[in-house]
C-alpha cells in the first residue's frame, strides 16, 4: 500500500498537482538539520579566517589600494555607461543596462553529487520566481527551479539537466551550454564542425529565451573535439562561476519578467530609467 502511495505521489508530483505544500513543509522541517550540517564547514571557514592583527593591517592596505583602483575604473565606467545609454537612446533600443538584483544566502549546497542544486534563503516573499537567473561575482551560477515562501532551490549550470543559451564573446556565435554532471565542466554539443571556436574563448550569457540576463560570463572554452562523425564539433568549457564555493549568490530579475512587489530588503541596484521603445 505504501508503494502504491509512493507511486501515486510521483505521478501527482510530475503533473504538478498541488503537492507544493507537502514539499514545502518537508523542506521547512529539514531546515534546522541543514543548518546543523552546515556548521562543521562554517566553523572550519571561520577558523581559517582567524588572522593576526599584522595580516589584517596588510590586507586592509592592499584592499584600500584595490578600492582606489576600482573606484577610478568605475568613474570611467560611469562615463561609458552614460555614453552607451545616449547612443542606445539614439538607436531607440530598449536593452536594460543594469538588472535588479538581490543577495541570497546559500543555505545548503549539493549534498548529493548526483544532483547539482543549492538551497537559498530567499523565496516567494522576496519576489523570487521560478526560472530566475542566479549569478555570483564571477559568472552565471544557475537558475531557480523551486520557490517556497522563505526559501528556494536552484539548479546549477553543471547539472546534466541544465542548459543555458550562450554567446561566444569573440565571434557572437549563439549556442547552448549543457551541464556535464561532473560539477567541473560544461559541454557545447551542437556546433558545426567549421564553427570558429577555440580554447580560451569566453562564453557569455545570451538573452535568447528571456531567462538569463545578457552578457554575464558563463565559462571559458578549454577544449574542442569532433563529435558524431565529421559534421559536428563539441566544445568543453570550464564554468566561470565558483560552483559550490561561495556562501552568497545574486538573484537577477530578467528583463522579460515583470518586476514584482518591492522585496523586504532593498535591492542592491535599481533599474536605470528606460528609454521608451518606439511605438
Amino acid at each position: 500500500m505504501l508503494c502504491m502511495l509512493a507511486l501515486g505521489l510521483m505521478v501527482m508530483d510530475r503533473r504538478d498537482d498541488g503537492l507544493g505544500w507537502l514539499r514545502e513543509s518537508l523542506s521547512f522541517t529539514l531546515r534546522p538539520l541543514f543548518w546543523v550540517t552546515a556548521l562543521p564547514s562554517r566553523t572550519a571557514q571561520a577558523v581559517t579566517r582567524l588572522q593576526t592583527r599584522e595580516s589584517l593591517l596588510q590586507e586592509n592596505a592592499a584592499l584600500k589600494q584595490k578600492h582606489l583602483l576600482l573606484e577610478s575604473l568605475l568613474r570611467k565606467f560611469d562615463a561609458l555607461q552614460a555614453e552607451n545609454l545616449r547612443i542606445r537612446e539614439l538607436l531607440s533600443s530598449s536593452t536594460k543596462l543594469e538588472e535588479r538584483v538581490l543577495i541570497a544566502e546559500v543555505l545548503s549546497a549539493a549534498q548529493d553529487p548526483y544532483r547539482h542544486q543549492i538551497l537559498l534563503d530567499k523565496g516567494a516573499r522576496d519576489g523570487v520566481y521560478r526560472g530566475q537567473a542566479l549569478v555570483d561575482a564571477h559568472g552565471v551560477l544557475g537558475q531557480v527551479i523551486e520557490v517556497h515562501a522563505g526559501s528556494s532551490r536552484a539548479l546549477l549550470i553543471t547539472d546534466p539537466n541544465h542548459g543555458i543559451p550562450v554567446e561566444i564573446n569573440r565571434t557572437g556565435l549563439q549556442t547552448i551550454a549543457l551541464g556535464r554532471g561532473d560539477g567541473q565542466r560544461l559541454s557545447l554539443p551542437y556546433l558545426p564542425s567549421n564553427a570558429d571556436v577555440k580554447a580560451g574563448d569566453l562564453l557569455v550569457s545570451s538573452p535568447l529565451g528571456g531567462r538569463f540576463p545578457a552578457g554575464y560570463p558563463v565559462g571559458e572554452i578549454v577544449e574542442t573535439r569532433p563529435s558524431h562523425g565529421d559534421n559536428f564539433m563539441e566544445a568543453i568549457a570550464a564554468p566561470a562561476a565558483h560552483i559550490n564555493q561561495g556562501r552568497q549568490a545574486l538573484l537577477v530579475w530578467s528583463e522579460s519578467y515583470p518586476v514584482p512587489e518591492p522585496p523586504s530588503a532593498p535591492p542592491a541596484t535599481t533599474p536605470l530609467p528606460q528609454p521608451e521603445p518606439p511605438e
Partner: protein
Amino acid sequence: MNARAWRLPWILLAAFFLQFLPLADWLAIARPLWVPLALVGWALTSREPRGLFPAWISGLFLDAAYGSVLGQHALALTLLVFLAIQMRGMLSVLAGWQAALSLLPAWLAYTFVLFWVDGSIQHQADPWQRWMPAYLTSLIWPLLWPLLRGLMRRDFQE
C-alpha cells in the same frame, strides 16, 4: 513515549545528519547510504514487522531534501526495508562479511529503483555516481552492523 520508542528517531536523525553533511564532490561519491543503513539496521533488530512506515516517511524527507520527484526515495526505501525484513532470519545466522554480501542485492535493488524512476522521468546523470554508494554501503556494513545492533538491542534487554 519511552526511551525505546525514541531510539529510532534519534538514529534516523544521526543518519540524516551524515547523509546531508557537505563533502567535497570526490568524497561525496564515496558517501554510504546512511539513511537506508539505519532503516535496515532497525528492521533487522526489531522483533515486530514494523519499519516500513518510518522508511516511507524518511523517503519523503529525502525526496524533499534532494529535490527529486516526491515518492521516489519513499518507494525505494519501503522496498528495501521490506526486503530486509524478509532476509531477517537468514541474516541472523550469517557472519559479518557474509551478511554484507547477502545484503548487496538489497542495496542494489534500492539503487535500481532510484535509477529506474530517474530514467522514467528523464533525469540523466553519471551512472557511476548512482551505483557507487550501493557497493560502499555493502563494504561498510560489517563495521557498522555491530554498532547498530548494540544501539538497538540494548533496549530489548532493558
